[in-house]
Symmetry: C2
Subunit: 455 residues, 2 copies
Amino acid sequence: MAKVQPRTLSGFMELLPARQIQFDRMTSIIRESFSLYAFTPLDTPIIEASEVLLAKGGGETEKQIYRFSKGDSDLSLRFDLTVPLAKYVALNYAKLAFPFRRFQVGKVYRGERAQRGRFREFYQADIDVIGDGQLDISNDAEIPAIIYRTFTSLGLKRFQIRVNNRKILNGFYSMLGLTAQSGAIMRTVDKLEKIGEKSVRELLTAPDIGLSNDQAAEILRFIDIKGCNADILAALEGYRGRDPKFDEGLDELAAVARNLAAFGVPETHFVLDLTIARGLDYYTGTVYETTMLDHPEIGSICSGGRFDNLAEYYTDKQLPGVGISIGLTRLFFVLEDQGYLNDALNTAPADVLILPMTDDMGPAITLSTQLRSAGVRTQIYGEQKKFKQKMNYADKLGVPYVIFLGDDEIKQDKVSLKNMRSGEQGLLPTGEAVEKIVAAMGADDAATPILDKGE
Amino acid sequence: MAKVQPRTLSGFMELLPARQIQFDRMTSIIRESFSLYAFTPLDTPIIEASEVLLAKGGGETEKQIYRFSKGDSDLSLRFDLTVPLAKYVALNYAKLAFPFRRFQVGKVYRGERAQRGRFREFYQADIDVIGDGQLDISNDAEIPAIIYRTFTSLGLKRFQIRVNNRKILNGFYSMLGLTAQSGAIMRTVDKLEKIGEKSVRELLTAPDIGLSNDQAAEILRFIDIKGCNADILAALEGYRGRDPKFDEGLDELAAVARNLAAFGVPETHFVLDLTIARGLDYYTGTVYETTMLDHPEIGSICSGGRFDNLAEYYTDKQLPGVGISIGLTRLFFVLEDQGYLNDALNTAPADVLILPMTDDMGPAITLSTQLRSAGVRTQIYGEQKKFKQKMNYADKLGVPYVIFLGDDEIKQDKVSLKNMRSGEQGLLPTGEAVEKIVAAMGADDAATPILDKGE
């Protein structure tokens, strides 16, 4: 028969078993962390009516969309989890309790040009809190705690949550009479880390934006306000009273910074950073980025912010919100690439492999049932192979324990247990062997998927 | 602004929050059960090259496929999890250890005509064991144990796993000299429950298949062999020696039935059933169906079987396997429809809602951090609303506990804890309140998503 060459599309991450287990461990820690903050899981369809998904229309995103027809329907694959949330909230408004807190971990699709580290199918892990009419700033204040707990639970140590408020920036530009240009200025200032101060200054004074040298200098001076959080807030207080929007933003930023200790976030992992603007017009207040201290070149691994109106394309209801998103597939790719994945993690599908040494599989099966009832992931090796091939299989799986069960063992109600890591082997009463494996599993479970060697 | 009507496509299940939590609970129990049997999780892309996905070609399925172009690529959405597995195994053959045991829970797409209980996007939960060259019958014997543990863990009680072997059927038809017609005969006999014996007899003797009345009677007599498993095996022994394929199938079926008790499967939940053929030419040996005793009209809720060659369209390697599939979205729909979902399950996003009664949110935040560290899903209600509105919110969420934290409580290092189910309220030391909530969570966690009132 003529064969079709098996292949996976480029830009689509498909992992080998051990890596998949690491990825899944990351996902389940993230889900658990989001759940601790009382976000409810949603799972919206991957396909939506194009009319609904593209209600906002235009922009770079639209070109990347997977859009197609089926029968009379014009369909598209979701390109983020925010638009489906907007649809969901508008559609189910009367049935939801507000503030509505939801998380979603799911695949999204963007037909970008394929290149290393860019994916066309990738997971996003999003949380959002949506208010009905209004939403208290305390919701913004909680977000850094969620980011901190999530990444710490994954095993990451050297990261920083960087926070700003768009109202401070907008208010500042309003003070200078530069409101009309503020969008362009912020998008330019946002590139500071990437292209450097000199290039930003050139862009600001170029005809497109057209600032004077003094104006550009003032903006760069403002953006350069640095120090500990208290210093920055103090410096910002110096501008108070000149613009109501600015003052509002300053109050909000102070509120977000106020209860860090109570939220369990150490000062080392939280910085106020006036350079953060997020290049999206969508955000209107608090904005967040998260960077790995040893890999700033990766950019933000968790970003988001406050927005005024989630679902304006679908409903007249005013639905403000605040949320963040982790680009999970790209994060995993980067972590692997940079050597952050914890190789000590047990990535075998089984905690123990039973090798029956008798023709009658009964005793091995009974043992497997006992082990599974104790929560031990158990596999019986039932193939008719030579002993050496069986041990090769155990090695290739990376299974931490092997049990040999022969006539001698069965007669004594014991098992031969081999620790595949240490090579240690012994004859043990069955119950003791189960306990030993369960104890080792506990240690494995405590291992984080990320191993951050920094302090 | 002109609004777009928010809507979700028909045939796409999108759940409200409480139902989503029930669905997710089901999914995670299934994943856990599959993991206990040492299946490794895979997550293949939803989009594949059409050439790869449709390598087999033809058939009813192809018409239902979501197929489209993006740039120069001819793409399709997966319509099952088996074809992507075949591709994966062929592609990664050298890197995998065989037998390769994988599970996948994921969405698949079929553009069927939308009707009640039929979905265009739906979850399948699949396990498969793939051998390299050969695969021992002990793998087939383990499958009923996995089905039994999975559905029992979900809370289902009154179900039966029905097992047969295609070789017995094929061998039987060979004895009668009806091999050429055996496919058509089996597809007809497969309809026995749906259309009744009389109609089956008519179809068998109609010109299309063209059996004599005697032949039809003999087939129906064979298919009607009933009784306990030992009786059926004994009856089948009566045919031994007349066809080698039959004898092989009988040995296999006996092997599958032999170790049920050791596998922990009660006789009540396992039946040998010669009417099961699965209407797919794909299966070559053991076949499985699972039916709800009180709802036979629903059909099989978990089916599968043994196949000879997983990936013949991609590789010359002979890769036999055995597997089963649960149509999770349809199962959930049916369970809800038939009143099987356990309403006692805690489907609130939070285990406790904290209502701060002071302007300073610090103490409430500190308490929330303490609760979360104890694994309690905690929400602080930070909105500026009237007390009554706050309590309405707690009611609408269905949260089991509310904590009131005012000046009095803070001074005494206590909290006011209200059990929202019983209405009971009391002032408690913080640690005691945490313990009380954790204990209640333990009881909630033990609740199964399905409540089967049958015995």
